[in-house]
Symmetry: C2
Subunit: 158 residues, 2 copies
DNA sequence: CGTTATCTGATATAATATAACACCTCAAGA
DNA sequence: TCTTGAGGTGTTATATTATATCAGATAACG
């Protein structure tokens, strides 16, 4: 299914699967998925929504782990840098990655009413074409759309 | 010219033209382009790059205007809300708008080397099509691409 | 002219993010 | 085996970005 962000699904297995595949890729590419990094990815996967760095720190603190801001920011830098998570700029928040396709750039659909976020995607070339007109070489794309998700279109304030 | 962000141009006239057209539109739509708002728009136009709210406050302070954070944030809210400026999420910064076409969403090309920013654009429908698959209604789009501008492609670090 | 909405000025504080340094650990090379 | 260096963690302190709130001013409009 290309986009399950706004749909129910079996959550415990999806967390396990994603964690396992992250572990596999780290082993393959000699990346160190240390305990803090792994736990933070797991938290993001469990929540299945965007969390602020300080939300994550609260969780870590509750579990007795080290919880100074750099702990979260460093782990998030690793996770985002390696494609295991994304930063949602509009929210200054972080969310686990649910699709990894090198040909597509992630696109996020953020509901202003219920704050749910779905990860969609767009062909990388679609934006690259625009950039090319300006002689610009894209290294990182931010595609975020804010609006109303299917569940909120009827009920939310205008 | 569709995109002059990475090119030289006559700057004093472009500031004047943009200000005049902002004034015209405000008169037309009963929007209040007050002195602070006008001055901040002018600063953004003069700089022709993205400024942080506190950069703007420094400028205001130097000119003897009120310069508490809310002064800038309120004016920026007005300017962004009415399309006279944009917020660059990747930089937590603000830039004057250089194109206004209701059919197109602004797209920003941010050079990671020299930090220049060009405003390009993309058909609104291009992203809306993706969103529609998810039953999502877009109200606001953020399209930002980070990379290297033409002037930096050769010289910048990899 | 009076009323109401909008805007400004100011203080305080919240939320987000980074700098810097000591220490640890583990693998690669001498 | 030693040692050395890169990358990771823990911690303190601080920087940067943004908002809540309330009192007073000004404009819009009947």
């Amino acid at each position: 299914m290309p986009n399950e962000g706004f749909h129910r699904h079996d959550h415990s297995t999806c967390v396990e699967t994603a964690l396992a595949s992250a572990e596999a890729r780290c082993a393959e590419e000699r990346l160190r998925l240390t305990p803090v990094r792994r736990r933070i990815l797991e938290i993001l996967l469990e929540e299945h929504r965007a969390l602020g760095a300080y939300d994550i720190l609260d969780r870590l603190r509750a579990e007795g782990m080290a919880a100074q801001p750099p702990v979260a920011y460093r782990a998030l830098e690793f996770l985002v840098g390696n494609g295991f998570a994304h930063r949602i700029e509009r929210r200054s928040a972080y969310i686990a990655c649910t699709e990894q396709d090198p040909d597509h750039a992630p696109m996020f659909l953020i509901c202003r009413s219920c704050d749910s976020i779905a990860e969609s995607s767009i062909k990388r070339t679609d934006l690259a074409r625009e950039a090319k007109h300006a002689g610009f070489v894209i290294e990182h794309q931010v595609l975020e759309a804010e609006g109303l998700c299917p569940a909120c279109t009827d009920t939310a304030a205008p």
